[in-house]
Symmetry: C2
Subunit: 281 residues, 2 copies
Amino acid sequence: MSSKIKIAGTIAEMKSLRREMRGSVGFVPTMGYLHEGHISLTRQARKENDHVVASIFVNPTQFGPKEDFKTYPRDIDRDLALLKDTTDVVFIPENAEEMYPPKYNTWVIVDGITEPLEGQCRPGHFKGVSTVVAKLFNIVEPTRAYFGQKDAQQAKVLQKMVKDLNMNLDVIVCATIREPDGLAMSSRNTYLNPHERKAATVLSQSLMLAQNLWQKGERDADIIRGKMTELINKEPLAKIEYVSIADDETLHELNTIDTPALVSLAVKVGKTRLIDNITLK
Amino acid sequence: MSSKIKIAGTIAEMKSLRREMRGSVGFVPTMGYLHEGHISLTRQARKENDHVVASIFVNPTQFGPKEDFKTYPRDIDRDLALLKDTTDVVFIPENAEEMYPPKYNTWVIVDGITEPLEGQCRPGHFKGVSTVVAKLFNIVEPTRAYFGQKDAQQAKVLQKMVKDLNMNLDVIVCATIREPDGLAMSSRNTYLNPHERKAATVLSQSLMLAQNLWQKGERDADIIRGKMTELINKEPLAKIEYVSIADDETLHELNTIDTPALVSLAVKVGKTRLIDNITLK
């Protein structure tokens, strides 16, 4: 571990720093505005690798035209302070053109698993995610890459991409980190005003409800979805986009929970779109 | 250079052999049924690298449903004999499932440059090519990969993919190798009966005509296309799919040849579809 964090602002600089590294490299791609969830990833990367690289890039191609690309929170100085104890190199493309120069025209597309849930609500989102992560993997050439379970479908899409394209790394999925009241950590939580912040606990509460019902033996997915929906609808600031109980591998919706299941949801709290999930198994 | 060629039948075997290699690796991906064109690539790879890897895989995803995937010529023993003086390792996936296992679902798509010419005649062709080559690049991790100018658009698509996705290798394009009468070498030439074989020289003859006109100062692309078309139409066994004079970088059709230009054509001779090209610059 180097005592001072190094910053690469261009792909060439990042590749050059990478060539100096011997041994294993752990990589944590982020969009910045880091929180304890991200740092749990760099900390795990630190434990498991000789070098740790993080990236900070608000990737325009994964945002829809009506989404929050322009307002996505940014604070690089704060991010660097948070990374300094775990991370050797931070790749911060100095502008979007560094990653998407004029005439950029290549896309990595994972079919199937990208279609439901986030893929249905955010058309083109996963095309942007898989493409930028494929590029980052080629630039950083990590031994292991770390993603949060909070974005469960994203992690599955990237695992599928790595497997299908025979990429030479392991994708490691780390537990969701939560605030004391259960809210999953997210850079977008900063959008919430105090009333919304309180209302936002309804996401994790509905997941705990699902887990309780399942632990008591309930296997009818519709009943659990129904009770989750009922709970969320009691919160006036919350508006459901989806409440899903799906096969944890295929993400096909389940009628009966007879296989490991991903319970996931997207809810708008005020104008802020939040997601969360748990696995039942 | 090892004295005996090694064969990898699985991705795991190929990756294992790759891990043993130190220094640079030249890679020549092929669909087998090799000819002097392929061997010119492995020979150049030999000159420029410490190790040479070739692959032989008739890639189903780059063939259309009505194309010649099933009848594509295959002769591995002959291929190995041709490779033995230049090549250290040959990756021959033992079946298509090795490359495309059940539930395979990830695609690399290059937009723009894939749309005209071969992309228009063979929908989905380049999606299959870019995907399989991305996979092969991840499996073989070459320093340099070698492709023939004969498939000019393919070479451009792969150069664009490597650039856009920040892959860590150079794509090197080598001159088309021709039979004494000018016919560009192709595994598909074996489909031609003696009459068709003779008729097939009309492709290179029309390219030579284009070059002569250009050398004499003709810059009107329509005039050159017209004279090429006229020449080919005199051959009763030949049926034009396209005759193109395009910007060598963008592949947009030109009116006036005021920039480096790719003159390319696809012609059916009997039932056999042949392509060829030259560059004017």
